[in-house]
Amino acid sequence: MRHALDIPEPVVEPVTVAERVEDSGYLVICWDDPVNFMEYVTHVFQTVFGWDKAKAQKHMLEVHNQGRSVLTREGFEKAEFHVHCLQQYHLLATMERAE
């Protein structure tokens, strides 16, 4: 005969504002370099982030004209993942904590 197990109800902790900020508190930045093609960089942005060509080109031009572009603001792990993806394509990418 089976007995019903006394399983407690899961307690869902409310997410605080500070935690949400922490969760998306890292900037993924791509820096200009003298070797990668502009169209290659555009293609990489489209592939890595799933952006349309217009958005990818806007960020590519920021990199080209201003020396860097903030691509996304994300949580630590996702930002780290995207930096690694960009570096796999030989782009110069870093992440830093948002102000």
Binding site: P34, V35, E39, Y40, Q88, L91, L92, T94, M95
Partner: protein, 154 residues
């Protein structure tokens, strides 16, 4: 190099025999190793130790070597690449095109490194044989990347 057709996800790409030879040779280039065009450190995290940098570089190096190996295998796999008298037909899904792009760009980076990281518009033909070979290799890689990006964008 041009796209003949698309069968589902698979792109059917035609290369002239010369393009196939150049691409196959390019992927066997062994001068130096590809590196990212600058420091890999993640600025602002306060954890850019030499050890972390080394681990990151090692991880990328393994990825790049795997890309090269896969790209070379694709070109030598009879079921993926058929070579005729004057042309080669290669069948690639999008993820394989990305691998090929990264592998070719890695060769560009290697050649660029061996040339002393010149500015992009400073690629006058050198007289030194090794530097000349690296410059030619960059030119070949440039053409391959432009052709692949054109195909992907169609």
């Amino acid at each position: 190099m041009k796209k003949l057709e698309q069968r589902g996800e698979t792109l059917v790409i035609q290369l002239s025999f010369e393009e196939w030879v150049v691409l196959s040779t390019l992927l066997r280039y062994r001068e130096g190793e590809a590196r990212a065009p600058g420091q890999l450190s993640k600025g602002g995290l306060g954890e850019t130790t030499t050890e972390a940098q080394t681990i990151l570089e090692e991880s990328l190096r393994k990825t790049w070597l795997a890309d090269e190996r896969i790209a070379r295998n694709l070109l030598s796999d009879d079921s993926r690449c058929s070579i005729r008298d004057t042309e080669a037909i290669i069948y690639l899904v999008p993820s394989e095109i990305e691998i090929l792009l990264r592998a070719i760009n890695g060769k560009r980076m290697s050649a660029w490194e061996s040339l002393g990281r010149p500015a992009s518009d400073d690629l006058a033909l050198p007289t030194d044989p090794a530097a000349l070979a690296a410059t030619r290799l960059m030119s070949a890689a440039n053409a391959m990347i432009h052709s692949l990006l054109k195909i992907v964008g169609e």
